[in-house]
Symmetry: C2
Subunit: 341 residues, 2 copies
Amino acid sequence: MKATITDVAKVAGVSMKTVSRVLNNEPNVAAKTRERVLAVATELKYSPNLAAKGLASSRSYLLALVYDNPSPYYIAKIQSGAIDGCRKFGYHLVPEPLGLPDDAAETTQEEAVHRLLHRLPVDGVILTPPLSDSSGVIKALESMNIPFVLVAPSGQKTGISAVKMDDVQAAREMTNFLIAQGHKSIGFIKGHLEHSATALRYEGFQEAMAEANLKVHDHEVKQGDFSFRSGVVAAEELLEDVNTRPTAIFASNDDMAAGVVSVASRLGIVVPDELSVCGFDDTPLAKILFPQLTTVQQPIYEMGFEAVKILLDPALKNTPALTRNLDFKLVVRDSALIQGS
Amino acid sequence: MKATITDVAKVAGVSMKTVSRVLNNEPNVAAKTRERVLAVATELKYSPNLAAKGLASSRSYLLALVYDNPSPYYIAKIQSGAIDGCRKFGYHLVPEPLGLPDDAAETTQEEAVHRLLHRLPVDGVILTPPLSDSSGVIKALESMNIPFVLVAPSGQKTGISAVKMDDVQAAREMTNFLIAQGHKSIGFIKGHLEHSATALRYEGFQEAMAEANLKVHDHEVKQGDFSFRSGVVAAEELLEDVNTRPTAIFASNDDMAAGVVSVASRLGIVVPDELSVCGFDDTPLAKILFPQLTTVQQPIYEMGFEAVKILLDPALKNTPALTRNLDFKLVVRDSALIQGS
DNA sequence: ATCGAGTATGACAGCGCTGTCAAACCTTTT
DNA sequence: AAAAGGTTTGACAGCGCTGTCATACTCGAT
């Protein structure tokens, strides 16, 4: 229950230091000694006191997940991956939302981060979008000399580690899929202007269309903001005119795609027979909708997991800064699958 | 940046202990001394080292949120409330999912908890459903002498603190609302058998019906499992026969209500004109659906917040065990609002 | 046998803080 | 003016662990 290293040392008949060495997998311990210590530790149900370890080694065995993201779904997945990663290294994750109303006097994000990590001296920080693009937060982290990894940052900063996904490529593949299904007139709904993914996804769409020698007409591209409502509005415009109506609509995220589906169903347009719809993100919504949404599954869990690995894996200890590009997955479901084609 | 108590003590011309007293708001410090110390601390940007505090006081300033819940949405909200609570007390929250595949050898939940909290000796634990009903987990916590609070447990255990919501009353009010709208034949879809809320919500439904002298026919009650699919199946059965078709359907959660809406729309039944639908939980889905769902908003965030308060609030320090009953909210939206009624 | 070069182990200080207990300093009361 | 009781302060040990450095032990090569 409350066995300490000293206890284990006494029972095993060795010094505290040797026990410490065994428990931390340090070299230069006789195999026999190691075994014995391990056996005693198990028997005594020893488990280290993190506070003491931390105090002695000036590490905290804690990683912070700093976020400021309205999407609980996204954060939950990142977190889930990050926690699993932490467990592999005996670490724990502390989620730290920024910009809570509890501190109205908080001026800048930079200060907020400073204060936060001053109190809780973690060994590393994972920054989720849109914070991964916040120069203030990054500056704070650098000034405090805390290792950190960006999740899905928009720009490529040199000297900073990051985990990301290729949005352009994903959008391109989705578009190619649509084109392969025989679609020539494809509507596109853009995302929120300030979100970095917006431009990337549109870029991928444009590239694929260009490669297939298909023209992207202005009236086929609508500005949305990632909300269901904006998808509805855009869809109404896109589907308004029966003559110029596209045969497929590619929405920059699932919520907007859901808006499209709902408009189509109201207008009596059968999906996917008369209109293919696809989204992006593979939110839970995608499977709930009828028909189920064809969409892009982002490696969100994996990004959390990899971010931790970059921070903690001793094998990567001396790699200065690396960017992990993780694989997305095209999830083809009924909303964009021409039956029998 | 790295100022210690010793530094502050030196500059302020007092002993470490006095600084400690000031920083922890202990009594018996001259006002003048307190002021001076505070000033120096601010000037030096002192902030305590949690590991050292923890080691010395055998507290960790950490609370664990232990869960094993498939619904990220629910957990995210609890967590959000709990984090806000923690901040008020200078604490931090560590989410700890149970039953991850990282430890396949894990036998019982009891052991898992034991191991977990042995490693990370937190000052308190918040248990979310369905873990709040797990006697194994509770036993482990009790044996380790770690204070804990149950979130939405099904039974009323004496001597254990809990935060909960009155599911029965909520279901009753929702049913009453439907009855007030003139419905006499109301279909009900039950939730997952093993989930404690299932029975409670059904109970509330039955009570309201009985109070209004309405009979609950067997064919109007279907077993679901909280999934969208099960809502679809149940709705198909409920709506199959045009003659015995209910005029309203009360699904035990939003996902199943979404299933009902989708079936209705496929069958050409207009919601809410020909069929009122309501759900339970007020998930994000409820607002995305068309029409938007009438549902019950649970005080999930508040439960997280209150749980922390019970654990940490010094004012409640000596209260042995208390149960906080938090208010739900009936959210009336289009899916169950007879136009112009 | 003797030396050197690992390899294995232990003694001990100290990480930054708090708890304990004693000392010093006020008041007020007699 | 002394005793009593309260308030304010500080000295010091020690929480459980790791880092440093010294010591002891092992083994092949001379």
